[in-house]
């Protein structure tokens, strides 16, 4: 009995130390100069710009990764024109961004598309900057968040099997109708789940973006890299204010996710 209590106590303690205390500390830090300190930290031009950048990246990355993630999941699970072996290899490569450090992911983009690379120089001459600009930051975040939707959707597709889709084919429904009327309702909640995790990851992405963006204030700075810079400059109130906005957004998203998980069980 006492051993059990000890474990419960320890688990609660770790939960509190790792998750609750930092969150409270951020709240406290953001408001240590009162409301004015917090609002000043948020409404600085560089803070507004950084939050805007984060927003743009999150929206574009989520759209691209959702559309192509669902498509790739469908191909990896359903397509019989892909060889079994090729599928296995592709399936393994999908996880690469989870296995490779985001910093290295960012570095790969710099090496491939940076001003010193052939492609980067060519694009630069055409007036398109990839690295140290928004496109590179979107690419880096795409790389980092690529597996999330796929890993949510693939198991569901595998579990429901292809018979319902085949039944739809037999009744005259072609691919497009079958997808929207049969497949989509089956995978809908797992896509929502993947989208939420992708957005949360986009908000929090730091390493890959830092390497690719160069962290240029009012230009390529995101919310997370701004927090980093504020801390470097000992502007802790401002750092906490921006961090609180990010944390609040993430918590909200995760609550939505919990709600969607309970919805998923309806079917």
């Amino acid at each position: 009995m006492t051993v059990r209590r000890l474990w419960i106590g320890l688990t609660t303690l770790i939960f509190a130390v790792l998750l609750i205390v930092p969150l409270l500390r951020i709240v406290q830090g953001a408001f240590d100069n009162g409301w004015s300190g917090f609002s000043a930290g948020i409404t600085r031009p560089e803070a507004l710009h950084a939050l805007l950048m984060t927003g743009i990246i999150a929206v574009s990355v989520t759209i691209v990764n959702t559309v192509f993630g669902v498509m790739l999941s469908l191909y990896l699970v359903r397509a019989n024109w892909l060889g079994k072996r090729l599928k296995a290899v592709m399936n393994a490569i999908v996880d690469l961004p989870f296995a490779v450090s985001p910093v290295i992911g960012g570095l790969m983009i710099v090496l491939l598309l940076g001003p010193d690379s052939a492609v980067g120089a060519l694009l630069g001459r055409a007036g398109v900057d990839i690295v140290y600009a928004l496109p590179g930051m979107i690419l880096a975040t795409l790389f980092v968040t690529f597996p999330i939707v796929i890993r949510e959707v693939m198991p569901v597709l595998q579990e429901v099997g292809s018979q319902q889709e085949e039944a739809a084919h037999m009744m005259g429904a072609y691919a497009w109708t079958t997808f929207w009327r049969v497949t989509w309702p089956l995978i809908r909640w797992s896509v929502v789940y993947g989208v939420i995790l992708t957005v949360a990851r986009c908000l929090g992405e730091f390493g890959a973006v830092l390497v690719v963006s160069g962290n240029i204030i009012n230009k390529t700075q995101t919310a997370t890299t701004l927090v980093y810079q504020d801390v470097e400059n000992f502007d802790l109130t401002a750092a906490n204010a921006v961090a609180l906005v990010l944390a609040a957004a993430s918590v909200l998203l995760l609550l939505v996710m919990e709600w969607s998980k309970s919805r998923k069980e309806v079917h």
Binding site: Q163, E166, A167, H169, M170, A173, T177, R181, P185, H267
Partner: protein
């Protein structure tokens, strides 16, 4: 719809699932594809449906080759083994799906759905979801859904496999009746011989990708064309030294000939039960008896040959060790080159004196 299949082949990797299968089905017939699991029955059905592409061979509906037609255009109703009902749709939405896809107008769809729910006895369940239905009801929804777009051919993959024994029996006769009433050509897959024999107009026995035999259940029972068919239908025993049995001495004419004897080909009893056929019987000994609910299953030894047969509950009960007379009416004989049915020679001529 008249269906014709010629020289159908299908391999999955190095495994040849279907080997040179050809058959034709008359309009309005109910055909059972019968055979052991993994024998290629479902592959044949899926190729007919267009869900699988044959490696070679022709599939012809109404004299028109449909190999290159996608499943959407073939006008086939398909009932899947696990029904594959759309689980996010209600019963009536499931049934209406094919009609909506075909862009029927709303009033007609409503009428057709109402007719089908009536026909399949699903009235009152229209707004239920599949998980709120019993196995038998789901089966009927799958059936109604497949029939809704008025297909010309109905394919059913192990339609009763997932249903418990008692309901399965009812559904079988229900299905037979329904198909008779609609006059729709139907092909169903099963591994259950009772099901095929009871329901089908014609049975096709499929084994290891080959079509072993096609014929009415009675033909297949009475005149099996291959040892596999003879062994697959009914409970039978293979007797290596068949020529040693009285009345089957001619079997020794070709060496390597074996015999296959079904329980119902054999009669056993005391001497006095046989009257003038006594000369065709063989003396044997009961080794085991099993009560089968409606009859006895008796294992009997004749010389070194072990045979099984049934015995009516109305007759005197036998016991292990009893000496009995055994009459083998006929045997299915086969060797490497041919197979044929041989009647007991002594039975034909009761006055024949066996030396």
């Amino acid at each position: 719809m008249h269906v014709e299949v010629r020289g159908l082949n299908k391999s999955f990797g190095s495994f040849q699932a279907v080997k040179d299968v050809g058959f034709s089905v008359e309009k309005g017939q109910l055909i059972g594809l019968l055979g052991p699991s993994g024998g290629g029955k479902t592959s044949i059905l899926r190729m007919l449906a267009g869900l699988e592409t044959p490696d070679s061979g022709d599939i012809v509906f109404h004299g028109q080759r449909v190999n290159d037609l996608p499943p959407q255009e073939r006008g086939i109703g398909f009932v899947f083994q696990n029904y594959a009902l759309f689980k996010h749709m209600t019963v009536s939405e499931n049934i209406a799906f094919g009609l909506e896809v075909k862009k029927w107008n709303k009033a007609k769809i409503k009428e057709r759905v109402a007719n089908l729910t009536e026909l399949t006895g699903l009235k009152g369940f229209e707004s239920r979801y599949p998980h709120q239905l019993s196995g038998g009801q789901r089966q009927r929804v799958a059936f109604a859904r497949a029939l809704a777009p008025e297909p010309q051919l109905l394919l059913l993959d192990e339609p009763f496999a997932a249903i418990d024994a008692k309901i399965r029996h009812e559904l079988r006769s229900w299905l037979r009746e329904m198909i008779d009433r609609l006059g729709i050509t139907s092909i169903f897959v099963t591994h259950d011989q009772d099901e095929a024999i009871e329901v089908a107009d014609e049975i096709m026995i499929i084994n290891k990708g080959n079509l072993e035999q096609k014929g009415s259940p009675w033909e297949i029972y009475k005149d099996p064309k291959t040892p596999f068919v003879a062994g697959f239908i009914g409970e039978s025993r293979i007797v290596d030294n068949i020529a040693e049995l009285r009345g089957f001495a001619d079997a020794a004419a070709t060496s390597g000939t074996k015999g296959l004897i079904r329980p119902e080909y054999i009669e056993i009893g005391r001497k006095e039960e046989f009257a003038q056929l006594l000369s065709a019987t063989e003396a044997g000994r009961v080794s085991h008896i099993h009560f089968r609910g409606s009859e006895w299953l008796v294992e009997v030894e004749v010389g070194g040959i072990k045979l099984v047969t049934y015995r009516s509950l109305e007759k005197e009960v036998l016991h292990p060790g009893d000496e009995v007379q055994v009459l083998v009416h006929r045997a299915y004989l086969f060797n490497d080159n041919q197979s044929w049915v041989m009647e007991n020679k002594l039975k034909a001529d009761p006055m024949f004196v066996y030396i």
